[in-house]
C-alpha cells in the first residue's frame, strides 16, 4: 500500500473554470454528479406522477395517450435506476466519500474522474434528446425487450430506441472510467493504518458495488450494441423470423431470450449496485446516530461481499416465466433464496446496533429507520417472487411493481436522503433546515408506504403492470380502481414534497446555519479534515494516520462517547481484532 504523500503534485486550481467546471477535485465532481442526477431524477418523478394520473383517473387527462403513457413508463424506469440511483451512489457518494473516508488526497486518476462526469452528462443529454426526436422516446419498457423495442407498434421504435441505446453505451463508458478510479483508489490510496478491515462500511458497499458495475455493465454494453445492429443493419442477434404488422421481415434465427439473459445478467447485479452502497451508508448512519459500534462489523463486510458474489448467479429469477428452459427454475430459485441469508444478517445487525444504544432521532436517523422497515418489507416480498412457484401467478403484476419499488426504489432513496442530511454539513459547511427535513421525511416515508403496501394486493388480485387502462375487466372489482385513484393522490403529494427537499438543499447553501466540523460527533475519518468544507487536497500539509476502526462509539472508559479514527493509539477503542494483533501474526 502506498503511503507516500503526493501533496506536491496536486496543484491547486487557479480559476473559477478549473475549480468548479472542468474540475478534477473529487468533491466538486461528486457535487456535479449528484446535481445532475437529482435534476434528472426530478424529471423521473414527474414522469411517474403523470403516469399515475392515467392509472388513477383513466381517460380524464386527454394528453396522456397510450403512446405517451408507455414512453413515460419507460423513461421513468430507466432514469430512476440508471441515471439517478447508479449515478448518485457511485458518481456522487462514491466520489465524495471514498477519498475522504480512506484518507486520500483525491481519486488516483483525477483527470479520468473529470471525464467520467462529463461523459455522464453527455449520456443524460442524449437520453433527454429522445423526447424531441420524431416518434419520441422509446416506449418499450425499461427492460427494452426485443423484438418489440425495435418494431412498429411500440412508441419510439425508430429514433427513440436508438438514442436510448446510445445513451446507455455512453453512460457505461462514464461508469467504467469512474469505477476503475474508485476501485484503484480504495486498493492503492488508503492512508497509513487504514486497513481494509478498518474501512467504514460505506466504502465497502460502494467498493463492492463498483466491482459489480465493472463486471455487469459489459453485458448491457454488448447487448446494447447487438440491438443497435439489429435495428440499423438488420442483423438478427435477438430477432427470429417474424411478421411485423402483417409484413414478413428479413430477420431470421435470432433469440429474444438471449437479450433477456444478457440484460438480467447485468440487471440483477444492478439491483445490488444500487443496494450495496445503501447498505454501507445506512450502517454508518445507524452507528453514528445510535452512538454505538455497528454490530458484527466483520460479518457485515462478508455479507456485502457474499451478496455481491451471489448477485451474479441469480439473474434468471427475473425470467421464471420467460419461456426459458423451465429446469433452470430450480437452480435460480435456490440461489435466490440463499441470498436471503446474508441479506437477513444485515438487517439483524442493523437492528441489533440499535439495541442498548443511545438513539438520537435526528433527520438522518429517521431516514435510516424508515429504510430498515421499507427494505425489510421489500426484501420479504422478494421471497415470494424468488420462490419460483409463487412467482408464476405474481410475475408481471403490480405485486412486482410494489416489490421492486420498495426494495430498490424507495429504500435506496431513503438512504440517499438520510446520507444527504448527514453529510451536507461536511459538503457545504452549513446545516440543512431541520423542520423542512422532518416534513420531507414524514411525507416521504408514510406516503411511500401508503402507495406501495396496498399495491401488492392489486398484484395478488392479478392486475398486470404496464396497462394503460383496465376498462371492462370483470375480475377486477371497482374498489381496486378506487384504490388506484387513492394511490395516485398520495403519489402526487409525495412527488410534490420532494420540491421541499430541493428547496432545502438550495436555500441552505446560502442561508443554512453554519456547521461545526463534526456536528454529529462521528468517529470516521472524513469528519477530521483540517477545514470544513475540505479544501482541495483534503488533508492540508500531511496525510492523516489512522489507529482504529470507524466505529469506536461509547467505548468504556473513554472520556467522550466516540474516539476519532485519528486519535492516538493510547485512546483505545480498537476493532475487535486489532491491527497490531494481525500485524504481529503476520
Amino acid at each position: 500500500m502506498a503511503y507516500a504523500d503526493e501533496a506536491a503534485s496536486h496543484h491547486d486550481p487557479q480559476t473559477f473554470i478549473t475549480k468548479y467546471v472542468w474540475s478534477q477535485d473529487h468533491k466538486v465532481i461528486a457535487v456535479q454528479y449528484a446535481s445532475v442526477a437529482i435534476l434528472v431524477g426530478l424529471i423521473g418523478v414527474t414522469l411517474s406522477n403523470i403516469m399515475r394520473l392515467q392509472i388513477g383517473f383513466p381517460g380524464v387527462f386527454a394528453f396522456i395517450t397510450p403512446e405517451r403513457y408507455y414512453q413515460y413508463v419507460t423513461m421513468h424506469g430507466m432514469i430512476m435506476v440508471i441515471y439517478l440511483l447508479t449515478a448518485l451512489f457511485l458518481g456522487g457518494f462514491g466520489n465524495y466519500l471514498i477519498p475522504l473516508m480512506v484518507g486520500a488526497r483525491d481519486m488516483v486518476f483525477p483527470y479520468m474522474n473529470m471525464l467520467s462526469f462529463w461523459v455522464y452528462l453527455v449520456s443524460v443529454i442524449v437520453l433527454l434528446a429522445s423526447f424531441f426526436v420524431p416518434g419520441g422516446p422509446t416506449g418499450a419498457g425499461w427492460t427494452l425487450y426485443p423484438p418489440q423495442a425495435i418494431l412498429p407498434g411500440t412508441p419510439g421504435y425508430d429514433w427513440g430506441i436508438i438514442l436510448m441505446l446510445v445513451s446507455l453505451l455512453i453512460f457505461i463508458v462514464a461508469t467504467t472510467m469512474g469505477g476503475l478510479n474508485y476501485v484503484t483508489t480504495v486498493l492503492q490510496a488508503r492512508c497509513e493504518g487504514m486497513t481494509l478491515m478498518r474501512m467504514p462500511l460505506s466504502v465497502w458497499g460502494i467498493f463492492t458495488a463498483t466491482v459489480l458495475a465493472l463486471l455487469a455493465f459489459p453485458a448491457l454494453f454488448v447487448s446494447g450494441i447487438m440491438m443497435l445492429l439489429d435495428k440499423t443493419l438488420h442483423t438478427s442477434f435477438f430477432m427470429p423470423a417474424l411478421v411485423s404488422m402483417g409484413q414478413v421481415t428479413n430477420y431470421r434465427g435470432g433469440s429474444p431470450l438471449l437479450f433477456q439473459h444478457l440484460f438480467w445478467f447485468f440487471g440483477h447485479p444492478e439491483v445490488y449496485i444500487v443496494a450495496l452502497p445503501a447498505f454501507g451508508i445506512v450502517s454508518d448512519l445507524i452507528s453514528v446516530h445510535a452512538r454505538k459500534a455497528i454490530f458484527g462489523y466483520r460479518m457485515m463486510v462478508w455479507a456485502i461481499v457474499v451478496i455481491g458474489g451471489l448477485s451474479f448467479v441469480v439473474w434468471a429469477h427475473h425470467m421464471f416465466v420467460s419461456g426459458m428452459n423451465p429446469w433452470f427454475g430450480f437452480f435460480f430459485a435456490t440461489s435466490t433464496l440463499i441470498i436471503a441469508v446474508p441479506t437477513a444478517i444485515k438487517v439483524y445487525n442493523w437492528v441489533l446496533t440499535l439495541w442498548n444504544g443511545d438513539i438520537h432521532l435526528s433527520v438522518p436517523m429517521l431516514f435510516t429507520l424508515a429504510f430498515i422497515l421499507t427494505f425489510l418489507s421489500g426484501g420479504l416480498t422478494g421471497l415470494f417472487l424468488g420462490n419460483v412457484s409463487v412467482d408464476i401467478p405474481l410475475s408481471g403484476t403490480y405485486f412486482v411493481v410494489a416489490h421492486f419499488h420498495m426494495v430498490m426504489g424507495v429504500a435506496p432513496l431513503l438512504v440517499v436522503f438520510g446520507a444527504i442530511y448527514h453529510w451536507y454539513p461536511k459538503i457545504s459547511g452549513r446545516m440543512l433546515d431541520d423542520r423542512l427535513g422532518k416534513f420531507h421525511f414524514w411525507v416521504t416515508f408514510i406516503g411511500t408506504y401508503l402507495i406501495y403496501f396496498p399495491m401488492h394486493y392489486l398484484g395478488v388480485l392479478g392486475m398486470p403492470r404496464r396497462y394503460y387502462n383496465f376498462d371492462g375487466y370483470q375480475f377486477i372489482p371497482p374498489s381496486a380502481l378506487t384504490l388506484n385513484a387513492f394511490i395516485t393522490v398520495v403519489a402526487l403529494v409525495v412527488g410534490a414534497s420532494q420540491l421541499v427537499f430541493v428547496y432545502n438543499l438550495v436555500w441552505s447553501v446560502f442561508r443554512g446555519p453554519k456547521a461545526s466540523s463534526n456536528p454529529w460527533r462521528a468517529a470516521s475519518l472524513e469528519w477530521f479534515t483540517p477545514e470544513t468544507p475540505p479544501k482541495h487536497n483534503n488533508w492540508g500539509p500531511a496525510l492523516p494516520v489512522v489507529h482504529r476502526w470507524a466505529y469506536a462509539y461509547s467505548v468504556p472508559g473513554a472520556s467522550e462517547d466516540f474516539i476519532a479514527q485519528t486519535a492516538p493509539l493510547s485512546d483505545g477503542g480498537m476493532e475487535p481484532e486489532p491491527y497490531e494483533v494481525k500485524e504481529a501474526i503476520a
Binding site: L380, L383, V390, G462, P464
Partner: protein, 370 residues
C-alpha cells in the same frame, strides 16, 4: 418518539389490512391450489419476520432513545447470537423453498394424457389451434403467414390439414381435463394470463414455450396479455370458456380445420372484396382496436362508420367516404378522429388490399346498408 408510534401503527395497520382487505387472490379455477398454499406459507413466514423485527425496533426505540446522561453499551459483536440468527434464517428459507420447489417439479411435468391446445399471440389478438383426431399439430413458420393462413401453418404438411383453427379471441376447454398449452408468436413477446388459472408462460417468437393446468370450475374467464407488446397491449383480450365435455365437443365441431379455412379463403376470393377485407382485417390486427359491433376500442368502431361525419382532433370535420378511409389507412397520423390517440401504425398494404379493407368497412357502414 413519533417514529416508534408510526412503526407500530404501520405494523398493526398492515396486519389488519391483510385480514380485512377486499383485495386478495382471485378465486382459483384450476388445479394449482398448491401454488396458493405455497403463497400462504410464504405470507405466514415472512409476516412473522416482518412483525417481529419491526416490533423489536419499536421497543428498542422506546427503551434506548437518547436521554440526558445516557450512554450506549459497547458490544461490537456476539458470535453466538450471530450464528443462532443465521441458523433460524436458514430454517425459514428452507421452509419456504422446499414446498415451492415441490410444486414447481409438478409444474414442469405435464401429465402424459393432457390434451394439447396451441395459443398464438399476435399484436393484439389471440388465435388457437387444436390437433385433429391423430393428435398431431402440423409444422409452422413465419414465412407462411398471410391473410388466409394467419397462424403460419405449413400448407404442405399433411399433419396440419386436420388441425382445428379458432380464428377468434375466444376458446373453449373441457372441465377437469389437463391441458398442455403450447405458445407461439410471429411478432413480439406476449403472455397468456388468466389470473384464475395461476399457471402461465411468456410467448416468445422463434420458439414454442408451454405450461399446463387443469380447469376445475366451469365459467367464462378473461385472458389478458401480461408481457408488454406495444401500444395495443391492454387491448389484447381473450376469453376462455370452461364447460362440460359434451358442450366442448359440440363447440369444437363448429370450428373449421386448416384445410377448410384454406378452402374458405379460396371461396372468399370469389365471394368478393368485403369478405376478403374481413380476413385481412383479422390478419393485420385491425380488429384489436376497431370493433365491428359498436363496442369501444382504441380506435373508432367500424359499425356505422361509413357515411358518417367525423369530428377530427384538429377541430375540423370530414365525411367518411372511400377517399377518407384510404387516406387514413395510408397515413394514419395525418388526421386523427377526435377522442382517439394517434397510435395507429402505418401498415404496408397493396392498393388491392386497401380496397378490400375499405370494402369491408363500407359493409359495416351506414344503417341503410346493414
Amino acid at each position: 418518539m413519533a417514529i416508534a408510534v408510526a412503526l407500530l401503527l404501520i405494523v398493526v395497520g398492515s396486519v389488519i389490512f391483510q385480514l380485512v382487505s377486499p383485495w386478495g387472490l382471485t378465486p382459483l379455477a384450476s388445479n394449482w391450489n398448491r401454488m396458493d398454499d405455497t403463497m400462504a406459507i410464504t405470507l405466514v413466514i415472512t409476516g412473522i419476520f416482518f412483525v417481529v423485527i419491526n416490533l423489536f425496533v419499536v421497543y428498542t426505540l422506546m427503551r434506548f432513545r437518547h436521554r440526558k446522561g445516557q450512554r450506549a453499551a459497547y458490544e461490537p459483536e456476539n458470535k453466538k447470537l450471530e450464528r443462532w440468527l443465521i441458523g433460524v434464517t436458514t430454517v425459514g428459507v428452507v421452509a419456504l423453498l422446499a414446498p415451492g420447489l415441490a410444486v414447481y417439479a409438478d409444474y414442469v411435468h405435464p401429465p402424459s394424457d393432457a390434451m394439447v391446445l396451441e395459443i398464438l399471440g399476435q399484436q393484439w389478438q389471440w388465435r388457437y389451434r387444436f390437433p385433429g383426431a391423430d393428435g398431431k399439430l402440423g409444422a409452422t413458420d413465419a414465412r407462411f403467414v398471410n391473410g388466409a393462413n394467419p397462424m403460419g401453418l405449413d400448407p404442405d404438411d399433411p399433419a396440419g390439414q386436420n388441425n382445428i383453427i379458432v380464428s377468434d379471441n375466444e376458446v373453449h376447454l373441457p372441465i377437469n381435463r389437463p391441458v398442455k398449452v403450447l405458445l407461439r408468436s410471429h411478432d413480439v413477446l406476449h403472455d397468456f394470463f388468466v389470473p384464475q388459472f395461476r399457471a402461465r408462460m411468456n410467448i416468445v417468437p422463434g420458439q414454442v414455450s408451454s405450461f399446463w393446468f387443469t380447469p376445475t370450475q366451469p365459467g367464462r374467464y378473461e385472458a389478458m396479455c401480461a408481457q408488454l407488446c406495444g401500444v395495443g397491449h391492454p387491448n389484447m383480450r381473450g376469453t376462455v370458456i370452461v364447460e362440460d365435455d359434451a358442450r366442448f365437443q359440440a363447440w369444437l365441431k363448429t370450428q373449421p380445420t386448416f384445410a377448410a379455412t384454406r378452402k374458405a379463403s379460396e371461396l372468399d376470393a370469389s365471394a368478393g372484396p368485403a369478405a376478403q377485407g374481413k380476413t385481412l382485417a383479422q390478419a393485420k390486427g385491425c380488429v384489436a382496436c376497431h370493433s365491428v359491433d359498436g363496442s369501444p376500442g382504441a380506435g373508432p368502431t367500424w359499425k356505422g362508420l361509413f357515411g358518417k361525419t367525423e369530428s377530427l382532433a384538429d377541430g375540423s370535420s370530414a365525411a367518411v367516404d372511400e377517399a377518407f378511409l384510404k387516406e387514413e389507412i395510408r397515413d394514419p397520423q395525418a388526421r386523427v378522429v377526435k377522442g382517439f390517440a394517434p397510435i395507429m401504425p402505418k401498415i404496408e398494404l397493396s392498393d388491392d388490399d386497401v380496397d378490400r379493407l375499405v370494402a369491408y368497412i363500407k359493409s359495416q357502414g351506414s344503417t341503410a346498408q346493414r
